[in-house]
Structures are given as C-alpha cells and as structure tokens.
Symmetry: none
Subunit: 189 residues, 4 copies
C-alpha cells in the first residue's frame, strides 16, 4: 500500500559501492559518497542496509551469488580437464565483464569485516577441491592438500585476470597460457 522498496535503488547502491570501493578502498568510500553516486539520499542507503558493515556483507554475498549463477551449467560429469577449464573460463569471463569486482572482493576479504556466513565455501570451491584432487593424482601429487591446490588455482586465476586487465590485447592468449600453466603444474606435461 505504500511505496514499495525498489530493487533498482538497492542495486544502484551496490553498484556504486563496487565502483567506489574498487577505486578508493572500502575505508575511503564514505557512505555519503556511495549514496550520492547512487543518486539516492544519504539516509536512503540505511533503509536498504542497516549499517555500512551490512552493506559490505550483502555486497559480498551478492557477488558470490552471481558467480554461482554463472557456474550454473557446470559440467559435473565431465572429465577433470573440462571441469577445471570451465571454472577457469567463467572466472575470467566475470573478471572481464566486471573488472572492478575482483579487486572489491579482495578488499572485502582482507577487511576483516565479513561475517563467517558470508565466506562459507560454496559449490565452486567444493568442485575445485574435487577436481584439484583428481588432477593431482594424475600428476603424481597424491598426498598434497587439496586446499592448497585450490589456493594455488585461485592465485593463478587472479594473477591472470590482473594481467589481462592491464594488457587487454593479450586477452585470449593469456587465458590459454594461464590455464596451460595451471594444468602443467597440476598434472605435469
């Protein structure tokens, strides 16, 4: 019966947050700047997010949700190579489509302000664990901690995204080379 809460406004706030957090860092992006970038009154931000911290967490959750959606047609039954490559490609797709999000995710993760539930491992992580393990066995790395392999995979993917962001012209080649490196590392040859 009253004016309904607007998804567009909520989204505008989240988008403005990404923009500002990426450019200035979380602590140097005041809520006032966010609301003004989102073309919304200062107080309005707080009807959508009770506190700045809630905004941070919600933003992180939202980004992960989108990643999960991107991964929706994950080839659960494919072979290791196909599965890893799928994640690799989708990850780089996202990084190219939303160049600032990666940085924001890193900022958020290192901010110490995320609630545990926001960081809970999701499907992608679980699949990466499985695939890394299988891959490692192929490569004679049977006893290696899968957590470590996933860390390595993410580090590699992020490094690649970072490089691509700085060298757009080597987009396609870097994506190939990057995966080749990962695959070689894991499986050898």
């Amino acid at each position: 019966m009253a004016r309904p809460r607007s998804d567009a406004k909520r989204q505008a706030i989240l988008d403005a947050s990404v923009e500002l957090f990426a450019d200035r860092g979380i602590a140097h992006a005041p809520t006032s700047a966010i609301s003004s970038a989102a073309r919304v009154a200062e107080g309005t931000l707080f009807t959508y997010f009770k506190t700045k911290d809630e905004l941070l967490n919600e933003l992180y959750r939202e980004m992960r949700k989108e990643i999960d959606q991107e991964m929706a047609d994950f080839p659960f039954t494919g072979d290791v190579h196909a599965r890893l490559r799928f994640v690799w490609d989708r990850f780089l797709d996202m990084a190219e489509k939303h160049p600032k999000r990666l940085k924001v995710q890193q900022h958020l993760r290192s901010s110490g302000r995320l609630l545990k539930d926001a960081e809970a491992p999701n499907m992608v992580i679980k699949e990466l664990l499985r695939a890394s393990k299988e891959g490692a066995e192929l490569g004679g790395l049977g006893g290696v901690s899968p957590e470590y392999l996933v860390l390595m995979f993410r580090a590699q993917a992020e490094a690649t995204a970072e490089f691509i962001a700085a060298h757009r012209e080597m987009k396609a080649k870097s994506r190939e080379i990057g995966f080749k490196l990962v695959w070689r590392a894991l499986v050898g040859q």
Copy 2:
C-alpha cells in the same frame, strides 16, 4: 632530509605499524594507536613521518629494502632452477620470520596510497624477469610475457606462504610441493 635523531624510535613506529596494519587494516589503525604502541607521543610520529601516507610509503620501502638485503647473496651465475629456487626460499623464509609483513604488503599495495617510486621494480623483480624468461624458453613458452610469469610466480609464492601460515606442520612439505608446481608450470615436467 635531516633525520630526527633516534633511529630506535623510528623503528619502533615502523614495527608498531606492521603489527597494527596487519591486525586491523590500514584504515582502522589510527596514528594515535600506532604511536601509543610504539611508546611514543602522538606528535612524535609526525616528526619522523610528515604524514600518515609518508609513513605508509616509507614502511613499504623499508620492507622492500630488507628483502633486497635478504637476497644479497643471490647466485647470479647459477642456473635457472637454482636462481628461482633461491628467491622462492628466501621469500618463504621472510614470510615465516615476519608473518605479518606479507599481509601488510598486500594491504599497502591495494590501498592506492603508494607512490610510484615506492613500487619501482627492484633487483629481485629484474632477476625474476630474467629467470622466468629463461625457464619459459626451456618449457616451450618462448613468446610469453615475462611480466605475466613474474606475476604468476609471486601469486604462487604468496599462496604458499598463506597456506603455511595456516598449516605450520606442513611447512617443509608445502615449500617443496609449491616449488615443484611452479617449476612444472614453467618448464613442464
């Protein structure tokens, strides 16, 4: 740049900064907290560093300088494997000896507050560029951008340090495996 006299005080401030930046993040470590942790008056901090930003930059330079010193006996004439392994080992040595510095370096790098000169490539980077290139040629990756390979090397090393920090008991093994992965990635087999 006539320095104020007590080097001990200056060092205390830098040490306190590392501690606090690692624990709370740069933006949540007020200069007042730093000075009090360094057992120095609030104003004193500003006789050693004109602004907080100057402190950040100086801290970053200082840490890089120490890394360079650690690398002093770099085996310039060794083979690729030896040279990469040397950097790998020293890097992990430092990470183990000063567990908080790595995090602080990441914070600083992503803070957007470092001056260009503080990030200028140093000897290690240059050597890594050279070694990566040679390694890549061995591995049939002749045309790949050395910058990218260095990025990958650092990502890998940081991931390994992070894993070791969380799993102290796998220290030695992770160091070996980690390097094996890098080497395989680069050279194949």
Copy 3:
C-alpha cells in the same frame, strides 16, 4: 479540526507514547518507535498529530482532562479537610492505576516543549488554591502565597506516589501518613 477517523488509533498512539516516554524519556522515544508500539504505520502518527510536539501537548492535555474527570464529584461544599483529602486520594488513585503517567507528566513539564495553554490552571488547581488558603488561615499562615502552598501540596503528593511505587506494601499506610504530614504542615496539629 476535522479528526481522522479512528479514535482507537489515536488512543493507541497516546498509550504507546506514555509507555515509551516513561521508560526512555521523551527524547529517546522516536516517533517510529511510538508508531510501531501502537501498531500503526510511521506516517499514520502524523495524520493524528501534525508534529511530535503536538503529540506531546495533546498527550499532556489528555492526561489533565482525565484527571479532571476523575475529580468530577469533587465535594465543592465539603469542609477544607474533606476537599483536600479528596484531591489527595484521587491523585494517588490515578498514580496507582497508571504508574507511568506521573513520570511522563514530569518529563513533559520539564521538557520545555509544552505550550502555555496546555499548562493553564484547571479546576483542580483552582480548588487547591482555595482550599490551601482556607487551611492556611486555620493554621495561622494567613499571608502565605497560595501558589506556594499548592506547589508544596503537589510536591508532597508526588513524593508520596513515588514512594508508594517503590514500596507497594506500604501503600495504605503511606497514603495516610502523607496526608497527615500535609495537613499538619498546613494547619498545624
């Protein structure tokens, strides 16, 4: 002053106000809390009361109106003792029935936000002035300002109500003793 329709809603808002003003004080009872306690939308409050200040004044008037109603069968023709005792008893009855109202009235009076008309002397005050004067003459206090005597009477009654609120078990006795003190003060003996 065409009133919006639901008297029940209006009353709910007033009741919620008493509750919250007593518990938290006027300034710490936001209109949003009042409306939600009254099970009414935030905006609705403002169709019944144009501003928070109007709510305050209206609430005060309403409470005084009820006191007047309670005093409806005031024994205008009784003797001084009977008249004073009547007011005394009704006042304490009200205080017991609505323990929070007294506090709210004090809050409101000391808030500096009541309009003059809301504080205009009413029947009770007028009768108290008359009775105090008569009583004082009996007690040889002929020239004393009746306003002062009324102030004293109210102070005494409020102190008694406050004491009773904290010591329910001494209800009846305190009421008697209290009046005895007032009567003695006024008339001596």
Copy 4:
C-alpha cells in the same frame, strides 16, 4: 612537557553544560553547542570527557561534590531542628547562587543515563535520614519510613526553591515559611 590539560577549560565545559541543559534539556543540548558555548573546539570536549554520557555523570558528581563542600561545617552535634535547618538553608543558598543547577540535577536524575555510583547516597542523605527519624519520633511518627521523610524533605525544599526562583521578592519569607511547614509536618506544632 606538553601543554597541560586546563582545569579552566574543563570547568568552562561543565559550566556551559549546566547553562544549556537547564535551558533546553539534555537531549536538546548538542555537544557542539556545549563546546561552542565553552569557547572550545568540538573535539576538545572529548579530550576532557570521553563521551557525552561521561560528561553527564561527571557533571552530576561535580555538583554533588560541591554540595558536600557546602555542607562541610554541618553541625553534627546540634539538635534536630538545627541540623535540619542547616541543610535547608544551605540547599536554598545553593539554589539561589546557581539557579540552573537544580533543574539540571532533576534533568540528569530523570534521564536514565546516570551510573549507579554517581547516585550513591552521600553524607547529606545519611544525615537527613538520621534527623528525619529523630524528628519524626518527637512528632509521634515513630514507625514511619525515614526514606519517605527524606523524599518529603527534598520535595519540599525543591518546591521552595522553585517558588523563590519565580518570586525573588519573597525570598526570605518563603524560606522561613517553607521550613516552618516542614517542621510542622514532621514534629507537629
């Protein structure tokens, strides 16, 4: 070795608080108004009082301390009448000298923001308890709760102060009459 904390500044803040709290009420006296009235920067207030609540409590303690000082030469060995009269006179002296403090004390007490220790009963209260009890026995009120009598005494004194504030010309007379009422109430005759 640095600029010492200035008692004058601290006092200016407390004085400004009394002024503003009395005139507008606690909640309507922003710390910014207090600091500006005290001719001090906004931040300075917080070097003397960590929070507004601490300021409130400190102000209350300070006022009670001064009352205690005023009561320093309390005639512990005098008779009941002398002791009650002493408190009565000192109380009205203070009220006349600092007309706004009384109101501020009431505001503070009803604010719900005082810590328990700030309200702990002090010497005056203890002596009033003793004297009230003795007086009441003289007046045949043996079993009456001394707490109640003290409440009554304070109510009476505050009513008198309030009346005097509004009618300066009746200062001396009101003081006498007021005490006569109290004494009569307590002792009869």
